[in-house]
């Protein structure tokens, strides 16, 4: 037998996942891009060259500076003299925060309900899955718009700005839970029939503990894949909502808001105000999607 390496037990460096990652230039590339965004966005308050929200530093004389014309404003400025690069960094920050929060919310609700449905079975399962199926027939963006609109009508206008970010997270999260619930419910059904669950029941371990300590770790694989892909979708959802004017308020502009603001200047020739945030959004979501795609293929037992 030629050239066989004996695997070291337990080391994650020897796992198929790591091997697949290090041998996939796309996975590495998109991970790097994601990291850049993460750091750029996360550290924006400290490393952004300007503060686009400090009115004192803005000057209308700086408005509509062209991009690539020097290092002060590398990507140009908008109509109020705000530096585009800084605005994009802060915008990406918001996009990522809202996207991640909505996904976490959707995961929490979806995984929780999925576990309950799969474990309890019977009418509980039927009801929950029916609700999920019905909701899945409606596009997520519509759900999010609906929730956003209803909450917007219920809450008095002066409180809108401060709670809008929570509303958006809630709306997108509610729109995206069914996919997680269905997947987890399917996996839970499979796991519930396995011997280790029966053994735990026989020993007398309580249902909640079985659910969370025993079954949950085993159903998390697909959740990770769907979660990554949903992150991209959630970021797009938020961008769409902001673009439509029903998302984050203009005082906290995400990438979507920036694109909307810049749209007005397309015809007067200041294309960079909308294109650069657009490209940033594209790069971010593309990187996340590539990672999610790679993750799905790497974790798919049938493709190995």
């Amino acid at each position: 037998m030629s050239g066989l390496a004996a695997p070291r037990p337990g080391s994650w460096r020897d796992s198929d996942l790591w091997y697949s990652f290090t041998h996939s230039p796309i996975a590495i590339g998109s991970a790097v891009v994601s990291l850049i965004f993460l750091l750029g966005a996360g550290l924006a308050p400290w490393i952004a060259p300007h503060d686009p929200f400090d009115i004192a530093t803005l000057s209308l004389l700086d408005s509509f500076r062209h991009p690539f014309a020097g290092w002060t404003y590398p990507l140009g400025t908008d109509e109020q003299g705000r530096d585009m690069l800084s605005a994009i960094m802060y915008g990406a920050r918001l996009s990522l925060v809202v996207g991640a929060a909505s996904v976490l919310f959707a995961v929490g609700v979806g995984v929780g309900l999925g576990l309950v449905a799969g474990y309890a079975g019977g009418w509980v399962d039927g009801l929950l899955m029916r609700a999920a199926d019905v909701q899945l027939t409606f596009p997520a963006i519509l759900m999010a718009l609906l929730v956003d609109g209803v909450v917007g009508a219920l809450v008095p206008r002066d409180r809108h700005s401060e709670i809008q970010i929570y509303v958006i997270v809630f709306a997108i999260g509610i729109a995206r839970w069914p996919q997680f619930a269905r997947t987890v419910r399917g996996s839970t059904l499979v796991e519930r029939g396995k011997d280790y669950v029966a053994a735990a029941q026989v020993i007398g371990i309580g249902r909640a503990k079985i659910l969370f300590s025993h079954i949950l770790p085993n159903v998390l694989g697909p959740v990770l894949v769907i979660g990554t892909l949903t992150l991209g979708l959630a970021i797009l959802d938020e961008a769409t909502l902001s673009f439509l004017g029903v998302g984050l308020p203009p005082t906290q502009p995400s990438l979507g808001t920036l694109i909307r603001i810049g749209d007005d200047f397309l015809f007067s020739g200041q294309w960079w105000v909308t294109v650069f945030p657009g490209l940033a959004l594209l790069a971010l979501v593309l990187a996340i999607n590539l990672l999610g795609d790679w993750l799905r293929d790497a974790l798919n037992p049938r493709l190995r």
């Binding site: 037998m1 050239g3 390496a5």
Partner: protein, 329 residues
């Protein structure tokens, strides 16, 4: 082997490149099948039986590939043929039957259409003539009311009937050899006997050779003329069925025979062979079986035995090294 063999497999080696190195799934496998003969290929799961069949008809799943040796059909090499030439051989000269009749048939196509397209691919017949032939094949395999059922979908048949349809599909282009890969494993025991009898009868009537791959020794005993016992990608023993069963020359074969429960004896424990078949990336040097062999000695560890004359059969075992003759085909 007095008449010229129909199929000859010489030193066939199949490898799978993986990230842990190259796995050798078949290691210099050699045997021959005479026209009209039924050769059983038996062994545990993972021994390489199905792979041998797949390699012969050129349907190895990538990244698997033939890394050495040759496959000859009536004296001509077929393993190095271009794709189109190989395609013409499949179905027309070598047919195949697989394990699960439910997934082997396209659920969205009537069986008539699947039969007719196979017939017309290989034989130059009009649509009407092909359909007539399809009906007669269905009758031959024992489907009642064939002229009506020909337009039915696979799910409208029972499991046993589906496998009959599969057999008809494999035989309808009149091949000289059928590779039957576990044809009865997915069927009820009561149906198994019928299907095996059908296969046997058809093979005899159409002088079709059969390579019958299975892990069920009982089926082999019923049906095969000769049998090859495979272990860890190699042939451990090959010879006439009666001889291999009655007086196995290889300790592995002996262990297999001993572990089959007999109806007429009561034992406290079923006999079994110690240990398990080695993983492909951990095949022992020398004889692959020696760690589990109750009769192993030094030479078994050092050198790999070729198939050698062991009286009525040929076995890859140093116990029979006294005979000077070379590998038995």
């Amino acid at each position: 082997m007095s008449p010229a063999p129909l199929l000859e497999v010489r030193e066939l080696t199949v490898e799978f490149p993986t990230r842990r190195g190259i796995l050798r799934a078949l290691d210099q496998v050699s045997f021959a099948i005479a026209p009209g003969e039924v050769l059983g290929v038996v062994g545990e799961s993972g021994a390489g039986k199905s792979l041998t069949g797949a390699a012969i008809i050129g349907l190895l799943q990538p990244p698997g590939r033939i890394a050495g040796g040759a496959v000859l059909l009536e004296g001509t090499r077929i393993d190095d043929l271009p794709a189109e030439a190989l395609r013409r051989i499949r179905g027309r000269r070598i047919g195949a039957i697989f394990q699960d009749p439910l997934t082997t048939l396209n659920p969205l196509m009537t069986i008539g259409r699947q039969l007719v397209e196979t017939i017309r691919t290989h034989l130059d017949l009009s649509a009407a003539a092909a359909r007539a032939r399809a009906v007669s094949w269905l009758e031959e395999v024992g489907i009642p009311a064939a002229a009506r059922r020909i337009d039915a979908y696979p799910h409208e048949f029972s499991g046993g009937q589906r496998q009959r349809v599969v057999i008809a599909l494999a035989l309808c282009a009149e091949p000289q050899l059928i590779i039957a890969d576990e044809p009865t494993t997915a069927l009820d025991v009561s149906i198994q006997a019928q299907i095996i009898a059908l296969l046997k009868r058809l093979a005899r009537e159409h002088t079709t050779a059969v390579m019958l791959i299975t892990h069920d020794m009982g089926v082999i005993a019923e049906t095969a003329d000769r049998v090859a016992v495979m272990y860890a990608g190699r042939i451990a023993e090959i010879g006439p069925v009666a001889e291999v069963i009655r007086a196995p020359a290889h300790p592995y074969t002996a262990g297999l025979m001993a572990s089959i429960p007999a109806l007429d004896r009561r034992v406290a424990r079923l006999a079994q062979i110690e240990g398990t078949m080695p993983r492909l990336d951990a095949i022992p040097a020398g004889c692959a079986f020696h760690p589990r062999c109750p009769r192993g000695f030094d030479r078994c560890r050092q050198a790999r035995p070729e198939l050698m004359d062991a009286g009525a059969t040929a076995a890859a075992c140093w116990l029979h090294a006294h005979a000077p003759s070379a590998a038995h085909a």
